[in-house]
Amino acid sequence: MFLAIKEIKHEKLRYGLIILMIFLISYLIFMLSSLAVGLASENTQAIYSWDTQKVVLNKNSNVIMTQSVLTKKDLKNAKIGKSEAYVGQLGMVVKHKNRDTVSAQFLGIKKDQFIYKEQKLASGRKAKNSDEVTVDSSFKNKGYKLGDKIKLNGSSQKYKIVGFVNNAKINIAPIVYGSLSTWKKMRMAAPNVVTSAIISKNGDYKFNHRNAKTYPINKFISKLPGYTAQNMTFELMIGFLFVISLIIIAVFLYILTMQKMHNFTVMCAQGIPSKTLVGATVSQSIILVAIGVIIGLILMWITSAALPATVPMSFTPTIMISGTVGMLVMGVIGSLIPIRSILKVDPAKAIGE
């Protein structure tokens, strides 16, 4: 550590440039990870807020709730207890004469079931009548207020916003919670249609029917439109960034080690143990990565605070820790590559040089 710190302090420009590279990479990793988590969260916020374990959908819906319809006949033998709730989902456009138009997801729910009962309101109250709705808090950022009367899908019927709900997004769209009867009306569903899905908090819940199938939550989420492709794209980019950081650290340290080989030879001739020289190289790598990552964390924190709430970015402690640990691991692996050269130093070469 002594040699590592002294050399970094003495060669400020050289090591400053390496730190700059590491900082830029770590900043990009934090940025992409935050976006990935933010977008993933906006896909699934509501589902997780309900503590969903199982989802019952129409067997032919391709595990997509908006494409699913369950009728009275399908649900004849379904057990709907305290842990189950009907949800009717429909994509729609929210309009108000003085506000921005918002693309949203309408979720019809029943007042006597847990999703309605456990709604976490940021402000206002729960909807009591079928002409009242509660909406995601993000509507506030677009100027919507309690008491606003909105139109859904251009219908003449107006719905009054009576509450703002936390964590109410699905498929990267804010949710408008209304009654199941409103959903049926908007969907122009046949009289025998009951819901799009049954959401269950019970991990053991199972209801299978000729037209209905129970899916575990992970399967349901992976089938959300675009969710898996989007996450895989981000994972691929983040993975490549880690590999790039590994290569940069390894190449820089290798070049620096080759340039310092004369010093290592002399120190080895003087009896400085190889483990000290190896330790200096590894700790130098850790110090460089740590400084770069800390600067990246600080800038990322400033960035996430400065960006508007509409940007789906979620800079969580998990991202901070996993990004930092990942970069440090890459740094250590990168520093191991030049170590072989250090261990092969021939001290006899110090004589006559």
């Binding site: 002399v266 001739a269 003087q270 009896g271 021939d346 110090a350 004589i351 006559g352 040089e353």
Partner: protein
């Protein structure tokens, strides 16, 4: 007992037709308090002799004794420890670590060798003797050739070795500095009780030597 002794040491490089015998049956010894010069032209085997005497490499055959202990078959790790504890090197290009100040060169020794280094007072005396007391905060690049040479000597002696090996210590010094360095090595041998071995082709150092060995084509003969 001699502090360092080489008995029938041979060193052969290469194999078959490319085989070169760099050292041929070398017999040598040096005691504490002595300055011993090993002289000879380039290619005579002086550097090979120094690497074997300094336990930087093993001889092909023969014995290398340090205080009577044969070190010729020591592992790399044990030879490393031996160099750290008992042999000080002053190399041709002075070879101070470029990113450490003179003071930090000693700190590096402290980091790897916890005991039997010079005390603060002893170090101050040595720096005073070498005339570099005011230079301890400077980096090697900020020192002249002569000052770097002295700093390298101080570092070699800081670990308190019994043997000091110097490779062409006057290679890039003018006559005035050669005189000073020659006298310094003599003082170090006499006053600090070290065995000082200087590998050189500089005849100006002869007057400071207790013994002079001459090397030619891998063979060593004692001149003085």
């Amino acid at each position: 007992m001699a502090v360092i002794e080489l008995k029938n040491v041979k060193k052969v490089y290469g194999k078959g037709n490319a085989q070169v015998e760099a050292l041929k049956n070398i017999n040598f010894k040096a005691d504490k308090g002595e300055v011993v010069l090993i002289m000879g032209p380039s290619g005579a085997g002086k550097s090979t002799f120094l690497t074997i005497a300094g336990s930087l490499q093993k001889p092909t055959s023969g014995e290398v004794l340090i205080n009577g202990e044969d070190i010729s078959n020591f592992s790399a790790k044990k030879r490393n420890e031996l160099r750290l504890n008992r042999i000080g090197f002053v190399l041709q290009a002075y070879n101070l670590v470029p990113f450490l100040t003179v003071e930090e060169q000693f700190t590096l020794v402290d980091k790897v060798k916890k005991q039997n280094n010079l005390s603060r007072d002893e170090l101050n005396d040595l720096l005073k003797q070498l005339g570099i007391t005011d230079l301890v905060k400077k980096y090697p690049s900020e020192l002249s050739g002569g000052q770097q040479q002295r700093a390298a000597i101080a570092r070699a002696l800081y670990a308190n070795p019994e043997i000091l090996l110097a490779d062409e210590p006057t290679a890039s010094l003018d006559t005035k500095n050669v005189e000073e360095v020659g006298q310094l090595f003599k003082d170090l041998a006499k006053k600090r009780d070290k065995a000082v071995m200087l590998v050189t082709h500089d005849p100006r150092l002869e007057k400071y030597a207790d013994h002079i060995y001459e090397m030619m084509d891998g063979q060593m003969t004692q001149k003085k």
